[in-house]
């Protein structure tokens, strides 16, 4: 496993320790590296865009700029849940099909920013076909709790690229 973990580090450059923003989706806790996070905003009205995959919820107006919103629950095949006052949009910078773009991720709630030491991060175990392990940078353990650390470029950036090929 050691070799595999290293391979992840080299390719994504973000597999190791650092500050992570953690958020909840159902019972699961996720984390993304803080350098990718632009801002966190509350839920707002989203304009649906036709001919896009289900997980593209639509677009919003972020201070005069139009950005797409990805509903992570749909993306991960989880059940939908009505939005409440804890529902958040995490705006991240990702590498899209045509360069850097800002994309909002719709999550249940934002938890905290944690410092994750390199030795607390394990490379993702083999889930077989049941879960998309290639989206995952590693599993972080904080105070006995497990955080699933995501590679946002893969989760979001690649789904944007997939959107385009689907349409074409």
């Amino acid at each position: 496993m050691g070799a595999a973990a290293q391979a992840v580090d080299i390719s994504s450059g973000q597999g190791m320790g650092g500050k992570y923003l953690t958020f909840a989706l159902g019972a699961e806790e996720y984390g993304i590296i803080i350098t990718k996070v632009r801002e966190i905003i509350g839920i707002m009205e989203i304009t649906a865009v036709p001919h896009t995959p289900d997980f593209i919820k639509g677009v919003i107006n972020l201070r005069g700029r139009v950005i797409p919103i990805v509903e992570l629950r749909v993306k991960f095949g989880m059940e939908l849940k009505p939005y409440d006052d804890r529902t958040c949009i995490i705006v991240v910078d990702v590498v899209g099909p045509s360069g850097m773009v800002q994309v909002g991720m719709l999550v249940d709630s934002v938890s905290e920013v944690v410092n994750m030491a390199a030795q607390d991060i394990e490379s993702p175990p083999d889930f077989g076909a049941a879960a998309h392990a290639d989206n995952i940078v590693g599993l972080g353990k904080i105070k006995g709790k497990l955080k699933i650390l995501l590679d946002v470029d893969k989760v979001i950036g690649h789904s944007l690229a997939a959107t385009l090929t689907e349409i074409a």
Partner: protein, 750 residues
């Protein structure tokens, strides 16, 4: 607008047609771009279905490769033939398959250039980096060049030459990339101003202030190039500077030779700087070490007053590779001066634009400002629309709100105007074009420009350049007659081409008018009948006939109209203008001349649209496409085979598009007689788009949808008055996807 971003075979061919038109003998940079386009064409997946086209493209690539390698002649005639070849390729592409006649013609054309299929295959890869591979024998070993093509008195510039030997210059100028980037940008600007000033000087040879204006940028280029250790550029700029200094202090008179040499040195410097900019983009391996000795010698010769002919003359007339000309200034070629007598060239505008103080601003910062101001305007509207605020009846608040409104409007106007630039620079490039063209064709043409101060969106400037070049070329090449013919018709010897720009009704209008022979209505009529566009018995107005020249394939293959150029149709111009959401038309009177009118929106950033509602969603339909909107009557609604729905509007049967079905949203009305039909037209096809309600007309700012693009039916987004995003409809996509889904989607739920 999805089709704009996705290059199709047709689009690629159009692009090639435009490029070939811009090629000048000796100008390898455009040829390089052409090669890239051909490679792109061959790499497209769609080409697999058109083997004939693929073969033609490959052959074309080979011919161009040979021209670059100097195996075939680098002459205007050959480019003209290539242009016709591309025209044939467009024809084949349009016909979607084998067209033997076109193919045979194509090969005949290539044969005329001297190409034999199968004889010595140069791969395209070689052609893509031609200059570096071009064999360049040492100049000293070869005799003087042959005399320039007889009769014309025209001299061709030395080709930018590249040394194969180890570079004299080390690449240490790459150490400070930021400085080099700045140098490239500034030098290109300097060169542009030099060109404009030289042309002005040609008309006012005694004006030392203009000499100074040319001298200074050369001096600056020399200085910075020296600092960056760009030795060739420094040397060339330095020697030209010396020449200009002589002119300035009166030790050498200002004459046509000086003008010629300074212009050509400017061109050569531009080639070198363009190469540097390529190096910056693609890495040091793209660096080419240009041979400046020819130009240096020429400048020196002119300086001592004997440089009657440029050092290198026309390329060898035979297809076999002839050694490049010796760089020594051989004055024997032509006794007379190659330049036309003073006053023959186009008159440069003598007016000197008053230039205010200005600073350069990063484009991104500017866009950020425009965005922020847009947001401010929306926020302000939202606050005012808040019912609680509305309930306050304080006169001071109302007054303050009015004041705030004025300030934000002013701010928005200013921010928008910062994106606008005068069209002057684009127009000024035409001076040179007309000058060169009139020299080449032996015609006397006077270019008169008006309204250079008219402002145009910065983003449109580049896109309008190519169509303008094409139309000016047409006017000079085919509109204005030769001097003798003009005199015979009782016209002044010198033809006039007017280039005008002005704003009218929210549009930018560009007019190109010549006093030449006008379009040949009869020929166009005959061709239209031949192509089945009109019937022999049809009475078609001259205006409608003239505007047929903008149809694809109408003026390409053969020279039937007086405006056909190098096998490039006016349809290319029309497409380029339509891409900018503009329109182009021609008015012509036989014997008196033609007037081309281009109407463009002032900016690409804003679109005039009707906001419509479908269920909870709002969409914007561009006003230009809308013909009318109506509530349909039951008797006008019909289904075809129980599936396709149609609406009868003024005797025309229009297919209905249920927008809610196409976009899968929940509508308020699914009964067409309760809903509203918006009749739109796209490329001659009319459709009735079914929506719930019309909400109003508004100018909206077009924004892209972040990482989402190429969505069928959606051209972009905009921020509506309440801060939410509204989608702008792309009628091209809607009309297309509708015809695709017709059989499955409209399962008569009415």
């Amino acid at each position: 607008m999805a089709e704009d971003t996705k290059p199709t075979l047709t689009a690629q061919l159009d692009e090639m047609a435009l490029k070939i038109m811009l090629v000048e003998p000796g100008d390898l940079s455009v040829v390089g771009e052409l090669v890239v386009l051909i490679e792109g064409l061959l790499a497209m997946p769609e080409i697999a279905s058109q083997p004939a086209l693929a073969k033609m493209a490959a052959a074309l690539g080979e011919v161009i490769g040979k021209i670059v390698m100097a195996e075939l002649e680098d002459s205007a005639e050959n480019y003209e033939r290539l242009g016709q070849g591309i025209g044939l390729m467009q024809e084949v592409c349009r016909k979607q398959g084998a067209d033997e006649a076109a193919e045979n013609n194509f090969h005949t054309l290539l044969g005329l250039i001297g190409y034999l299929p199968g004889a010595g295959h140069h791969k395209l890869e070689t052609a893509s980096e031609p200059p570096a591979n071009r064999p360049e024998p040492p100049p000293a070993d070869h005799p003087a060049p042959p005399a320039p093509a007889a009769g014309t008195g025209e001299t061709l510039p030395p080709r930018p030459r590249i040394l194969e030997s180890p570079p004299v210059e080390t690449m240490d100028f790459l150490q400070d990339l930021e400085l080099l980037t700045g140098f490239v940008g500034e030098t290109l600007e300097h060169l542009e101003s030099i060109e404009v000033n030289v042309l002005e000087l040609e008309d006012n040879p005694g004006d030392l202030e203009i000499v100074n204006k040319i001298f200074r940028p050369f001096h600056t280029i020399k200085g910075v190039a020296g600092f960056l250790n760009l030795k060739s550029i420094q040397k060339l700029a330095h020697s030209t500077e010396n020449l200009l200094d002589d002119v300035r202090n009166g030790s050498r008179p200002m004459d046509a030779q000086v003008v010629e040499v300074v212009l050509k040195v400017g061109d050569f410097l531009k080639t070198m700087v363009d190469n540097l900019s390529l190096v910056l983009k693609e890495g040091p391996e793209r660096y080419l070490n240009y041979d400046i000795s020819g130009h240096l010698a020429w400048v020196e010769a002119v300086r001592v007053g004997q440089g009657q002919a440029p050092p290198a003359a026309v390329p060898a007339p035979s297809p076999t590779p002839e050694p490049a000309a010796a760089p020594a200034p051989v004055a024997a070629a032509e006794a007379e001066s190659p330049s036309p007598p003073a006053g023959k060239g186009p008159a440069a505008p003598s007016q000197k634009a008053a230039v205010g103080d200005s600073i350069k601003v990063d484009v991104e910062k500017l866009d950020g400002l425009v965005n922020a101001v847009g947001e401010l305007v929306i926020m302000q509207a939202m606050i005012r629309a808040n019912p609680r605020i509305g309930a306050i009846s304080d006169p001071k608040l109302i007054k303050d709100f009015a004041q705030l409104g004025r300030i934000t409007t002013e701010l928005q106007k200013t921010a928008m105007s910062m994106r606008m630039v005068p069209i002057r620079q684009t127009f000024q490039k035409m001076i040179r074009l007309v000058r060169d063209l009139s020299k080449k064709t032996g015609k006397e043409v006077n270019l008169v420009m008006e309204g250079e101060e008219t402002e145009i969106d910065r983003n449109m400037v580049d896109s309008i350049y190519d169509p303008l070049v094409h139309m000016i070329r047409n006017s000079v090449d085919h509109g204005v007659q030769p001097p003798a013919e003009r005199e015979g018709q009782g016209k002044p010897r010198t033809g006039t081409v007017n280039l005008r720009a002005y704003q009218k009704g929210g549009n930018m209008v560009i007019e190109i008018e010549d006093d030449g022979q006008g379009l040949n209505t009869d020929k166009i009529r005959r061709k239209a009948i031949e192509r089945g566009l009109i019937q022999e018995s049809d009475k078609v107005s001259a205006y409608d006939l003239h505007n047929l020249i903008f149809l694809p394939g109408f003026s390409t293959a053969d020279k039937i109209t007086d405006v056909s150029g190098r096998g490039v149709g006016m349809d290319v111009v029309k497409k380029a203008v339509e891409k900018l959401r503009g329109k182009v038309e021609v008015l012509s009177e036989p014997g008196k001349g033609s007037l081309f009118v281009i109407r463009l929106p002032l900016t690409l950033a804003i679109i005039d649209g009707i906001i419509v509602r479908v269920g909870a969603e709002r969409y914007i339909i561009p006003t230009t496409a809308i013909q009318e909107s109506l509530k349909p009557l039951k008797e006008n609604y019909n289904t075809v085979q129980g599936r396709g729905e149609t609406l009868l509007v003024r005797g025309t049967v229009l297919p209905i598009i249920r927008l809610y079905q196409l976009f899968r949203v929940e509508p308020t009305y699914s009964d067409p007689c309760q809903a509203i039909m918006v009749v739109v037209e796209y490329e001659g096809r009319q459709r009735a788009i079914m929506v719930d309600e019309l909400l109003g007309k508004q100018e909206v700012v077009i924004k892209n949808l972040g990482g989402l693009s190429d969505i069928p039916g959606v051209a972009g987004g905009t921020i509506l008055g309440d801060g939410r995003v509204g989608l702008i409809l792309d009628l091209a996509g809607i009309v297309q996807s509708h015809s695709g889904h017709l059989s499955t989607d409209n399962g008569g739920d009415f």
